[in-house]
Structures are given as structure tokens and as C-alpha cells.
Amino acid sequence: MTATAERQMELTLPMVPDIEIAAARAAGNLARELGMRSESIDEMAHAMIEACINAREHSGSNDRRIYVRITGTSLGEGNSRIDIWITDHGKGFDVTEARSRRQKLGAVHKRGWGLQIIEAHMDEVSITTSADGTTIHMVKYGKNDD
């Protein structure tokens, strides 16, 4: 397959309640332009929402901004790919510890499910994190609507 027609969008969002919806809508619009199926778009939107919430709730960033970059690529033959980078300038986190969280009814940890949800809804996820901030790179492949 040959990758063509890349589209790109960059957003700088304030860490305010429900801003994750704006990010998800932007990615959804770009994916719709590529013809991606609605269920794939919904999965991507839910992953993006969790990534933005993690940045807002847990990053501890001083600038209180979320930096979002989205690219959309048509792969030909009715296939497309969306890449999303969510970056904060916070204090970073322990990825291994975050991945190990599991919730049970009655357990102390009812929260902390964001990463599991992101990894379940996206096709590829990679995280770069340090004391200077975190970037989560997520990829969604999609078949186009017929």
C-alpha cells in the first residue's frame, strides 16, 4: 500500500473541564474526511478523551496546556491511518505502575483506567515520559465506510 494525502492538525488546548471533547471532535472530523468508519472513529475518540483527561488530571504541568497533533493518511484500497500525539509538560509518570492497575468492585482504585482504555481502543500506543513531560502517541487504522 502507498501512503498518500496526509492531513495534519495541531491544537494547543487549555486544561479546563471537558476540553477533551474538543480534541476528540477535531480528530473525528479529520478521520471522517478520510472516510473512516464511525465505530473506528468512536474508539479513537474515547482513547483521546482518556489521554487528555490523564494529561489534565495527573500531569501536574505548570503551563496547564495540552498539545495535540493529529495526522491522517490515506493508505489506499479503502484504508486509512490516524496518528495522534498528546503532549503535556508535566512531571511524567511510571508507565509500568499505570499499566498494572486493575479495578475490582470494592477495590480502593476505582480510577486509573485511562491507559487500559486507550490501549484497548487504539491499534498502537507508545509513551515517552520524563520529568519534563509526557507524550502519548496513538495510532488507529481504519477501513473506510462503503
Binding site: 479546563v16 473541564p17 471537558d18 476540553i19 477533551e20 471533547i21 474538543a22 476528540a24 465505530e39 468512536d42 474508539e43 475518540a45 474515547h46 478523551i49 482518556e50 483527561i53 479495578q103 475490582k104 468492585l105 470494592g106 476505582k110 480510577r111 483506567w113 485511562g114 487500559q116 482504555i117 484497548a120 481502543h121
Partner: protein, 119 residues
């Protein structure tokens, strides 16, 4: 920017009710649902169905509040069900284990029948 959740209540008999949600189930939306659910539980409702037909987006904080509602209902010997979930919300419920402790129904008719909520 806010995404307000609306909740409507339909009482079914003395011990049943259906909650209809419309909008984003985040922390605020989850608390709104919890408030309505706890009022109903105080009023002896023990069979509660949440119809999410008009909810297309949830987040993990909102779902964690739904889990708290389920826990309280189980403590009272009752039952909670969900119906009309989008495929992605259904998948998210399964990821977080909610589907293990509440009943998930495809549509309201099936839920009403299974949960004994006929009006």
C-alpha cells in the same frame, strides 16, 4: 466548554425505575446519575435500568461513578442493568469490568422483560 448530561426518570411500580441519560457521562454527569439513583434507592427501588440510548461518549471517571452506584445497589440486594449501549461504550464497560456486575441488554424491551420493569 461544558457538556451537560440530562437525566430523566421513569418509575416502574414500587421497586423499579428506568433512568434515561442524554449526553456525556463524565465526572459531573456520573454524579448527576448517582444523585438520581441514590434518591431512587432511598425510595426502595431495587431494580434500576439505565438506558444510554442518547449517550455516545463516556469517560473512565464517569464509569467509576457508575460502578459505585452498582456497589451500593448490590449492598441493598438490588440489581442494575444497562441497555442501548453503543459498541464502543459496551467495549469500555467490559474493559473496566462493569459488565461483570451489572446486566447489559441490547434494547429496552429485552431489559424490561428480564428485569421485571413492565409498567
Amino acid at each position: 466548554m461544558t457538556e451537560e448530561l440530562k437525566v430523566a426518570v421513569d418509575r416502574r411500580g414500587t421497586s423499579g425505575a428506568i433512568l434515561y441519560t442524554k449526553g456525556y457521562i463524565n465526572n459531573v454527569g456520573g454524579e448527576e446519575i448517582a444523585s438520581r439513583a441514590y434518591e431512587l434507592m432511598e425510595g426502595d427501588v431495587r431494580s434500576l435500568l439505565l438506558n444510554l440510548r442518547e449517550t455516545k461518549i463516556v469517560n473512565s471517571i464517569g464509569i467509576s461513578i457508575l460502578i459505585e452506584i452498582i456497589e451500593k445497589m448490590i449492598d441493598k440486594g438490588g440489581r442494575i442493568g444497562f441497555c442501548c449501549l453503543t459498541p464502543v461504550i459496551h467495549k469500555t464497560f467490559q474493559i473496566m469490568g462493569l459488565a461483570n456486575y451489572a446486566s447489559i441488554f441490547t434494547d429496552e424491551d429485552q431489559a424490561v422483560k428480564e428485569m421485571g420493569l413492565a409498567s
